[in-house]
């Protein structure tokens, strides 16, 4: 496989770091792949631009940062403004259409999806936005199987919340099929 370098960005508390951990864990524990996940953050627990880097590959990964990601997800305008220029030419830029206004064209496939709106419309719980985002990423990149993500969700998430997370994952996958690009 090709080395898949991803950056998920948003606001602190949106769960982009958790989403990255779930994705990387699925790759390592259930698909026998290598993955490295790291994050940069400031002192605050909520707010501020959060960024997490995930690299998934079938060989040992040494440098742990994705300085030029193939896949970049921006869930807020602040994160978009800060990071959109780092996308690797030919890569995939995923944004939430409610929160991010695309300012400039980049040399990448740009996918704007109403992830937040759909989550609020169907599940009505903003906490699963990150899992919806994972559904989009996995459907568009096929970097891991959705079943592997489900296994990780089952292991990590309290039983009472598993349903809405599963729904969010499916919602994201369905949403990716109708994305405006």
């Amino acid at each position: 496989m090709n080395r898949c370098r991803m950056v998920f960005s948003g606001s602190g508390g949106q769960g982009v770091i958790t989403a990255a951990i779930i994705l990387a864990e699925a790759a390592v524990l259930h698909e026998g792949l290598m993955a490295v996940q790291s994050q940069s953050y400031g002192p605050e627990a909520r707010g501020g631009a959060t960024r997490t880097d995930v690299i998934i590959w079938d060989s040992q990964i040494h440098f742990p940062k994705a300085n030029e990601p193939n896949v970049l997800v921006c869930l807020t305008q602040e994160a978009y403004n800060k990071f959109y220029t780092i996308i690797r030419p030919g890569g995939l830029l995923i944004t939430d259409s409610r929160f991010v206004r695309i300012e400039r064209k980049v040399d990448a496939r740009q996918v704007e999806l109403p992830m937040y709106e759909k989550v609020m419309e169907t599940i009505k719980r903003p906490i699963v936005l990150n899992i919806c985002m994972l559904g989009v990423v996995v459907a568009l990149t096929r970097v891991v199987q959705p079943e592997s993500l489900l296994k990780v969700l089952k292991a990590r998430i309290p039983a009472g919340f598993l349903d809405i997370n599963t729904q969010a994952l499916e919602l994201g996958m369905a949403l990716s099929r109708e994305g405006r690009t």
Binding site: A24, E25, F63
Partner: protein, 382 residues
């Protein structure tokens, strides 16, 4: 999925290694970026009958582990630069009193409170010279989670073997990033237990009377033997002494037991060193970027190799001198102003061919940084 495959932070790999080595007492005060070590041990240790104490500060943490070790436990504390500064006095005490313990310093930017959430490798010389007076220390590091696990086990083994504090110098990048860890089976890595005295109850025990091999068997404090422990220079009974012969003998012993075994304490990894024209010397997270460069440039015909140091102190000077002989350029890759660079320059035959590739802005040095600096040194321009 096998149970022993984990996807964890480096700090958790350290915790797993410590538990594997037999850690049963931890005292600490949380500080970024080491906090996850305390956090995980706060629920892992009680599960296995161990003790976890959150202390009021780092001074107390260090003192608590020294006391617990003396009573027969395998002990550890974890901190970052600012807390490590506070531990120096008690660290010197543990060196003087020869009490095994493991201190983890997950490095962040300094001096002072510096950059709490950013990476640095600025505590290398603090580990060496933070405590006052002549002394020898063991300081180890690692660049990936498998090695963090193994080197943590090694730290406990060396602490018991040499009756000395061992410092683990990790950093924010390896501490916080997640990657795969395969936890070894029980028995896969040999463990060194406490060497206890065979002197029976009721017979005088001399806590500081070395055996013929130089090792000092211990007796659990508060157990069957009564003895004295002091940070003053002391005789074989453990009582203070300013007898010049006793003072000289003890200081020589403290230095020699570490320095004379430097080759046995040296841990390192080598990649394409044999025919290297350019030798990179690195450690910790910086070594990941250096290894990326090596693996990236070799297929393009560039003869670049990497010597990754895991033992920083005692500095493996014989190894470094030998490996630096053939290469035309030696470049030390680290995230400080040249702390290991100085040790390399002191050790090699021709220090003028040794250069520094560093980054000190709180960001992990990148493979591109290393390549650009190398090109400039080679006169190729960026």
């Amino acid at each position: 999925m096998k149970d022993n495959i984990k996807f964890v932070q480096g700090n958790e790999a350290c915790v797993e290694g410590a538990l594997y080595a037999g850690l049963d007492f931890f005292a600490g005060y949380p500080i970024t970026p080491s906090t996850e070590i305390a956090e995980h041990l706060s629920y892992r240790l009680p599960q296995s009958g161990g003790k976890f104490i959150q202390m009021e500060d780092e001074i107390a943490s260090m003192c608590a582990i020294i006391g617990a070790s003396l009573t027969g436990h395998k002990v550890m504390t974890a901190t970052s630069g600012p807390g490590f500064s506070l531990m120096q006095e008690a660290l010197g005490y543990a060196i003087m009193t020869e009490i095994p313990c493991v201190i983890v310093d997950v490095q962040r930017g300094g001096p002072s409170t510096g950059l709490p959430t950013s990476v640095s490798q600025g505590d290398v010389n603090q580990a060496r010279w933070g405590a006052h007076g002549d002394h020898a220390v063991i300081a180890l590091t690692a660049s990936n989670h498998q090695d963090i696990f193994a080197i943590t086990v090694e730290a406990f083994n060396l602490a018991e073997t040499y009756r000395t504090p061992v410092i683990l110098l990790f950093d924010e990048v390896t501490g916080h990033m997640r990657e795969r860890l395969v936890v070894p089976e029980e028995g896969e890595i040999p463990l060194v237990g406490r060497l206890r005295t065979s002197v029976p109850e009721g017979v005088d025990y001399h806590p500081y009377l070395p055996r013929e091999d130089g090792r000092l068997p211990m007796s659990d404090f508060g157990g069957v033997h009564r003895y004295n422990v002091t940070g003053l220079f002391h005789d074989m009974w453990g009582f203070p002494s300013n007898n010049p012969g006793v003072v000289q003998g003890l200081l020589r012993h403290l230095m020699d037991k570490i320095n004379n075994n430097a080759h046995q304490i040296a841990r390192y990894n080598e990649y394409f060193v044999e025919d290297a024209q350019v030798l990179l010397i690195s450690y910790g997270s910086a070594a990941r970027s250096a290894l990326h460069v090596v693996q990236n440039r070799r297929p393009r015909g560039e003869r670049v190799g990497l010597l990754e140091l895991q033992t920083l102190w005692p500095f493996p000077v014989d190894l470094v001198r030998e490996r630096c002989r053939a290469p035309e350029i030696v470049m030390v890759v680290e995230m400080n102003m040249g702390q290991v660079l100085q040790a390399v320059k002191l050790g090699v035959d021709d220090p003028e061919k040794v250069f520094l590739a560093n980054r000190i802005d709180g960001s992990l040095i990148t493979p591109t940084d290393i390549r650009n600096i190398l090109r400039v040194i080679q006169g190729k321009g960026v």
